[in-house]
């Protein structure tokens, strides 16, 4: 019984993470401007990764593996938003026509 409950919870987590990744992928393909694409990609990098790793941690029994998965989340949450931030920063500093992209159409 507990096995089934655990499987259900982890499946819900993983499906949520996959939905986040799908949103990121669709956004990356649909949007044309780099800021929007960074925004869309960041969703998958943080939220999707968190939910998928949580799902795996719930489905996995041993404590060591769960600790390793949590470490994975810690490292990727520290690095991936920073890289997105610097990508946007370079765009902000180097694009002279930045404000043209902010107009409402």
């Amino acid at each position: 019984m507990t096995g089934w409950i655990r499987f259900f919870i982890s499946a819900v987590f993983i499906v949520t993470g996959l939905v986040s990744f799908a949103a990121g992928v669709i956004g990356n393909c649909r949007f044309g401007y780099v800021m929007n694409r960074v925004h869309a990609g960041g969703i998958g990098d943080t939220q999707g990764l968190f939910f998928i790793v949580m799902g795996l941690a719930v489905g996995e029994g041993s404590v060591m593996d769960i600790l390793k998965l949590i470490l994975l989340v810690v490292f990727l949450w520290n690095t991936s938003p920073v890289s997105s931030h610097f990508l946007s920063q370079v765009e902000y500093y180097t694009n002279p026509n930045l404000y043209d992209h902010m107009k409402r159409k």
């Binding site: 490292f75 520290n78 690095t79 920073v82 931030h85 610097f86 920063q89 370079v90 500093y93």
Partner: protein, 314 residues
């Protein structure tokens, strides 16, 4: 002649000096020169009959170029297809291709003392190959240094240096709080991980090249977080040269000795150790460290030279 050569060897005279001076003179009147060239080209094209001659030459050159490219393509395709026809069929026992592999897999642990067969292969059986790779890295670093190093002698003006500093200040990469906090947390982890991979080359996947690449990446992150000044205090051009030279010469002498003593490094006097322990595999661990140091120095040197044109601020 002899004195001149010694002066050149010591770096007292610069061979490029005259050339740069001429370039400087031309630099002032570059716009004028451009205009002149443009007018000259127009005049040539306006002469009667020139267009026809140049066009014919150009057409001949194009035809020759196309013929050569097509012929070399056909030659390459033919050679490759010919070789493919002589390859053994999939699944057929082929002694040329399987003997060596079998030897590595079956006797690799016994002969090299390394649990990681790949490390045993690249640093024991084929150590000369790895030696050449490390020297290629060092040569690449030297070539980049020749081309990109700015040491006051080869700079046309102070503007270039000013431009680099201005760029750094504009992007504010060494004043950014976000990357400083993240670097404070990440850099020790990266260094520990790199050293772990470097020291465990013979018992687990990893080794000199990957460990050195991680160490170099850690140094690059540290530099982009805290600026070049902090790294310049301990990592100067002199230290980089000493480390690279010591690692490469140690590798050459150690491997030369092993090859001299017993053809494929089997009958040397260095104990193999217990397989699976860190101190095992004979010469593999020191060689791994040497390769890792060269790779780390090369990676940081590339970054530093491309970013501001010097290693260690001189």
């Amino acid at each position: 002649m002899n004195e001149k050569f010694r002066k050149w060897l010591d770096g007292d005279i610069d061979v490029m000096e005259n050339i740069t001076e001429t370039a400087l003179e031309h630099d002032a009147s570059r716009e004028e020169l451009k205009q002149l060239r443009k007018r000259l080209r127009e005049n040539i094209w306006n002469l009667p009959g020139t267009g026809r001659i140049i066009g014919a030459e150009r057409r001949t050159a194009q035809i020759i170029y196309r013929v050569i490219s097509v012929v070399s393509c056909i030659l390459l395709i033919g050679t490759l297809l010919y070789i493919v026809g002589h390859l053994p069929l999939y699944g057929v026992e082929n002694p040329r291709a399987t003997e060596v592999t079998k030897r590595y897999i079956e006797d690799g642990l016994k002969e090299t003392g390394a649990v990681n067969i790949v490390a045993g292969m690249i640093l024991d059986y084929r150590a000369f190959d790895t030696l050449g790779e490390s020297h290629v890295l060092f040569t690449a670093l030297v070539c980049v240094m020749i081309l990109l190093r700015k040491d006051g002698k080869n700079m046309k003006s102070a503007y270039e240096d000013y431009f680099t500093v201005a760029q750094d200040t504009y992007f504010m990469t060494n004043k950014d709080t976000i990357i400083q906090k993240i670097g404070f947390f990440l850099v020790p982890c990266i260094f520990i991980y790199g050293i772990y991979i470097l020291l465990n080359g013979q018992v687990s996947p990893g080794g000199g090249f990957s460990g050195g690449a991680i160490l170099g990446a850690g140094m690059i992150i540290f530099t982009s977080a805290y600026g070049f000044d902090k790294v310049d205090k301990y990592f100067t051009l002199k230290l980089s040269g000493y480390v690279t030279f010591a690692a490469l010469s140690f590798y050459s002498f150690a491997k030369g000795y092993v090859f001299f003593m017993g053809a494929n490094g089997l009958e040397n006097h260095i104990p193999k150790g217990t397989p699976g322990a860190i101190l095992s595999g004979g010469m593999i661990l020191p060689l791994d460290i040497a390769v890792g140091l060269v790779v780390a120095c090369t990676m940081y040197g590339f970054y530093s030279l491309f970013r501001r044109g010097s290693i260690g601020g001189n």
